[in-house]
């Protein structure tokens, strides 16, 4: 998926969504649909708590789609089912309703209060705030006759006219958080107070003006317009020097300036956030953090611990084997470790010394007396105990402390608990607590000695507590939880257990005469059948095959050297070959020579794979002060059924983030992201984040051919739709940039991957 390419644009959209959002022109009567939508918003005159909310279809005489009440913050949320089209929201007060004043005091709500708003119900979430100016908007949309049905066209025009007057998008702008909206309503209250009247009267005056088609004629509305100007409210109407505003003179074919301003704000937020994710900003970008984190893990966990732990493993071997004294020299990765272990009389405490580069590293391993290796059930004992405390041979003075217990429940299952493990170096500190592992053995009959034995079937890590510092840079604190599920394809392929021997075989097709003299085949090939699979052996030396063979678990002897073994017998059996197609020189017959083999083993874990990994906690880069707190979850809904035994297996992977992102010089961002790569090669992205008073949502869908669409929306009515073609470039011609259903600009190409938005008023800005 060409997400990175679009990341620089990251502003793309969906034609389908545009249709869904109404657009312009035409009447739109209500339709039934099978989906449900949530209509939500705030009712603000004063804040109306416990107000009565009714949602109507297209007209106040129309069907009531939903009834609800506002909460104590004035917010409401109403579910409407099976309807798309214009809706009207009416908020009134009853005896239980209250006005919540700015200072928090509660007064009874004026029972004459009737506030209205309207919007188009076309999506799942329909923001519809209810305020005095949305009430005025509905008057405009219905030409003063509130019982008249509204259409998408009349509504869109009314929205534009109100926005032209007040400078805010009336319906979607949050009247509680948006400073301009708050000032407008506060000014209404001030005018009401100055004139010793009520807000209801102010609203009536506004509505009277709206019916007449001229705003500012009434003494109250005239004062209101003047006060809004004095309070620095900017709008095309207020910026003009006219004392009255004729609604008929407002050109609704041109979006008012605030629509463009709203889009620019969204684009600005994308630019700031995308640059902080991409490597444009060299200081503290997220991709730099990820890169550094990988590097730190590699350095701290992989590179700098392998040799130390390898050396330690010899010490543990001594303890497992209950050897009172053990010493030796180990060569690993170019290092030489000279180790010496001495045990107490009970063989429960082992003092070790590992000499490396002329320096001694000492420690003690304590075990329960019955301590054994956990790899086989026959060795595993009840309630085993192991504790390690000491220093390790390392360049950064590592010490280790670990305490673990193992418990065999019965002959089939066990629990292993790493209670606490601390590894500390000059630059690293890793503490892991409570690694819970549950495992299971399976029982089989050993063909070599005909005895019943058991081997490890699976292990499952469940919960891990992390408290660590990597490379003096990253601090990680939190819990890691894993859910497991058994994948059927792995389990079916290796039904007998978790360890699988893989034999790499090199069969050679040759021709032999009766004296066993060899000759080269003139052509043809051989079909060799094994385990239900046909392998075609060509007349060349390049036949390499991987075949899983489940026997001979206990040794690594070459199976072809066991001339009485099952596999030898199998490959030497002529009935497993079809040699009729091989052309040999006269006097020679086709023959298969098994000349080479190599053995590998896989731990299949009996098909158990994690289907959900959840990290809950924080990761902080102490060098850049970038910190992420929250939850990161990776899950796969279909990993149980996808054939993971095949190369390029492609289960659906969903990654979700719900994090609070703190970066120097950036406002704290609450980031919610959901990314899904499906097994049909499609991908979906859903990101939302807060920006000032707004929440920006970015939705992207990619098809298997890498074409797709990206939609960016905010709470204020901005919608940017950009389809993407198969090479990852935007489809400029069909892109659409809208504000409240009115087109405000077009995405255009300025060459050299420079997509720009060309706004209707001539302004232009690049996305990057």
């Amino acid at each position: 998926m060409k997400i990175s390419k679009i990341a620089s644009l990251c502003l793309v959209g969906s034609a389908a969504f545009i249709i869904g959002c109404g657009g312009s022109g035409g009447s739109s009567s209500g339709n039934t649909a099978s989906t449900s939508s949530t209509v939500s918003g705030s009712a603000v005159d004063e804040t109306i708590a416990n107000g009565v909310v009714k949602v109507y279809a297209a007209s106040l005489n129309g069907k009531i789609l939903s009834n609800t009440k506002t909460d104590e913050n004035g917010s409401y949320s109403a579910i409407i089912n099976g309807y798309t089209g214009p809706i009207i929201v009416k908020v009134t007060c009853d005896a239980n309703s209250l006005f919540i004043e700015d200072n928090g005091s509660k007064i009874p709500c004026d029972l004459n209060t009737s506030l209205y708003s309207a919007n188009l119900a076309t999506g799942r979430n329909i923001i519809t705030n209810v305020t005095p100016i949305t009430t005025q908007m509905l008057i405009v949309a219905t030409d003063g006759n509130l019982s008249k049905p509204i259409t998408s066209t009349t509504l869109t025009k009314a929205k534009q006219k109100i926005a032209y007057i007040y400078g805010v998008a009336p319906v979607t702008t949050n009247p509680v958080d948006n400073s301009t909206y708050k000032t407008i309503i506060k000014t209404m209250h001030t005018v009401a107070k100055d004139n010793n009247t009520t807000m209801t009267k102010i609203i009536e005056a506004l509505n009277t003006d709206a019916k007449k088609g001229v705003i500012g004629e009434n003494n109250l509305t005239k004062q209101l317009m003047s006060s809004l100007k004095n309070n620095k409210i900017k709008s095309p109407a207020l910026d003009s020097n006219k004392t009255t505003i004729s609604l008929a003179d407002i050109n609704t074919s041109v979006p008012y300036n605030n629509g463009i301003k709203a889009v620019k704000s969204v684009v600005q937020s994308l630019r700031n956030n995308l640059y902080s994710i991409s490597n444009k900003d060299q200081n503290g970008t997220l991709d730099k953090e990820v890169k550094d984190f990988n590097s730190a893990i590699n350095r701290s966990v992989v590179q700098n611990t392998q040799s130390e732990l390898y050396a330690l493993s010899y010490v543990l071997d001594a303890s497992v084997d209950n050897q009172a004294d053990m010493s030796g020299i180990v060569h690993q990765n170019g290092n030489t470790y000279d180790y010496n272990v001495t045990a107490n009389s009970n063989n429960t405490e082992f003092n070790y010394t590992i000499t490396w580069n002329g320096k001694d590293y000492k420690g003690i391993v304590k075990t329960s007396q019955n301590y054994k290796d956990v790899n086989s059930m026959s060795d595993l004992q009840n309630d085993m105990f192991l504790e390690i405390n000491g220093s390790l041979p390392s360049i950064d003075n590592k010490t280790i402390y670990a305490k673990a217990t193992a418990h065999k429940n019965n002959n089939k299952t066990f629990n292993f608990n790493l209670i606490d493990a601390k590894i500390k170096g000059d630059k690293d500190y890793l503490e892991i607590k409570n690694i819970e592992i549950d495992g299971k053995y399976f029982t089989y009959k050993d063909p070599d000695n005909n005895e019943t034995d058991a081997d490890l079937s699976y292990i499952r890590f469940n919960n891990i507590e992390l408290n660590s510092k990597l490379n003096n840079q990253f601090e990680i604190n939190g819990t890691l939880s894993l859910n497991w599920i058994q994948n059927s394809s792995i389990n079916n392929k290796y039904p007998q257990g978790s360890y699988q021997k893989l034999y790499w075989l090199s069969p050679v097709l040759t021709c032999k005469d009766t004296n066993n003299n060899e000759n080269t085949p003139n052509g043809g090939n051989v079909i060799f059948k094994y385990n239900g699979i046909n392998y075609q052996l060509n007349s060349s030396w390049s036949n390499d095959y991987e075949m899983a063979f489940e026997k001979d678990f206990d040794n690594n002897t070459l199976i072809m050297s066991d001339q009485n073994g099952d596999f030898w017998n199998y490959v030497e059996n002529p009935s497993n070959y079809d040699l009729s197609n091989v052309q040999c020189p006269s006097g020679y017959s086709p023959k298969i020579e098994w000349v080479d083999e190599d053995i590998d083993s896989d731990f299949s874990n009996s098909g158990y794979v994690p289907n959900k990994i959840t990290f809950n906690g924080s990761v902080k880069d102490i060098t850049t002060n970038v910190e992420m707190d929250g939850k990161i979850e990776v899950s796969s809904p279909d990993i149980q059924s996808v054939d993971l035994t095949k190369e390029h297996a492609n289960p659906t992977i969903n990654t979700s983030l719900n994090v609070d992102l703190q970066r120097p010089n950036y406002p704290n961002t609450i980031l919610n992201a959901d990314i899904t790569y499906s097994n049909n090669k499609t991908a979906k992205l859903n990101i939302s984040y807060n920006y000032k008073d707004d929440i920006i949502t970015l939705l992207a869908n990619w098809n298997a051919d890498q074409s797709g669409k990206i939609t960016i929306k905010d709470l204020n009515g901005v919608q940017i739709n950009i389809p993407v073609n198969t090479n990852g470039d935007p489809k400029y011609d069909t892109s659409l940039i809208e504000f409240e259903g009115v087109k405000v600009g077009q995405l255009e190409n300025r060459g050299n991957n420079l997509p720009v938005i060309h706004y209707n008023d001539g302004q232009v800005e690049s996305l990057n």
């Binding site: 640059y275 902080s276 444009k280 406002p667 300025r750 420079l754 690049s766």
Partner: protein
């Protein structure tokens, strides 16, 4: 009116760096094409294969003049139709060098280009001309007036700074630009059309061994074009700012792009030439740039030398035909000055 054409050689010898309209050249048909650049070969620049950079300190200019005329003479009048293109480009050495290096992908590292500047103005037009020619004793003159359609316009400037470090450009540019075709960046626009008028005057004084020519093309002119694509944009490679303590990324490209009505004029061209016997000395001037020259006539040939571009011109005139060629390099592909003029006179 034959007396008007007593002095045929006078009327083409002035052809030097720039293309002038002069009805006294008594050609019914003529094609003129002149182009020069201080900073590189004409051929390479126009064919987008600019591989040779010519160093010239300070102000650098380039221009393209072309004009074709078809007309007839009747009594004291000349009636003709024409098509002309007059494009002038002004820049400085560092800008020319920066553009050249950028096009050839070998920008000088860690060098600060503190004054990037390009000014371009030009029009292509097609129209009708009427000229009145007169003479009084040894004094000849003409007054000419043209109306025309404007087919192509370029008028704008780019200013800014640039820096090249670690294989990436760092620049801040501002463009203020009217155009039919945007040469700065890719944009699809509707080509505008306009109209205008212009006037030319010329005076020639002739004695037995001495003559003087003074011409002003486009003395008074006006151009009106509706809905010209206009860009007033900023291009910034480094768009990171701190605003209120927070990192803010302004757009790398922003400004205004719209269609605007446009008025302008042709910048006048001046010519003064003095001739004694077969030798002459002259100067042309356009956009405050002088193009001095000197030359001599040898029978049907005229040889000229231009000082600014160090170019040689050869002109051949035979009865009703003339051809005029000029270059400053033998290898024409490497010449930074090229000129081709041809004209014919028909007797009706």
């Amino acid at each position: 009116m034959k007396r008007l054409f007593f002095f045929p050689l006078l009327f083409f010898s002035f052809l030097h760096a720039l293309v002038f309209f002069n009805p006294y050249n008594k050609k019914n048909f003529s094609v003129n094409l002149n182009s020069a650049f201080d900073f590189g070969p004409v051929y390479e620049i126009f064919s987008n294969k600019w591989t040779d950079f010519y160093n010239k300190s300070g102000k650098n200019i380039g221009y393209l003049n072309y004009r074709s005329n078809i007309g007839i003479y009747h009594n004291n009048f000349y009636f003709g139709i024409f098509q002309r293109g007059d494009y002038f480009l002004k820049t400085n050495h560092q800008t020319a060098n920066f553009v050249y290096q950028m096009l050839n992908n070998h920008i000088e590292k860690n060098k600060y280009y503190n004054h990037l500047f390009i000014y371009l103005k030009g029009f292509r037009s097609r129209g009708f001309n009427i000229s009145y020619l007169f003479h009084y004793h040894n004094f000849l003159g003409f007054v000419s007036s043209s109306i025309f359609n404007v087919l192509f316009v370029e008028d704008g400037s780019v200013n800014g700074k640039g820096y090249y470090l670690n294989n990436s450009y760092d620049y801040n540019l501002h463009a203020d630009y009217y155009y039919s075709k945007n040469y700065l960046y890719q944009i699809h626009v509707t080509k505008p059309k306009g109209y205008g008028y212009t006037t030319h005057i010329g005076f020639i004084y002739k004695l037995e061994n001495f003559s003087a020519i003074f011409l002003i093309n486009d003395l008074i002119s006006k151009i009106y074009i509706k809905n010209v694509p206009y860009s007033n944009v900023y291009l910034n490679s480094n768009n990171k700012h701190i605003i209120n303590g927070y990192i803010h990324y302004s757009p790398m490209f922003y400004g205004i792009e719209k269609y605007k009505n446009y008025q302008s004029r042709y910048n006048p061209k001046y010519l003064l030439q003095l001739k004694y016997k077969n030798y002459f000395l002259g100067n042309q001037r356009w956009f405050n740039i002088n193009f001095p020259y000197m030359g001599m006539e040898i029978k049907a040939f005229t040889l000229k030398y231009g000082f600014r571009f160090k170019n040689i011109n050869v002109n051949f005139q035979k009865k009703y035909f003339f051809i005029d060629l000029g270059t400053n390099k033998v290898n024409l592909k490497k010449a930074s000055f090229l000129k081709f003029n041809i004209g014919m006179f028909f007797k009706f």
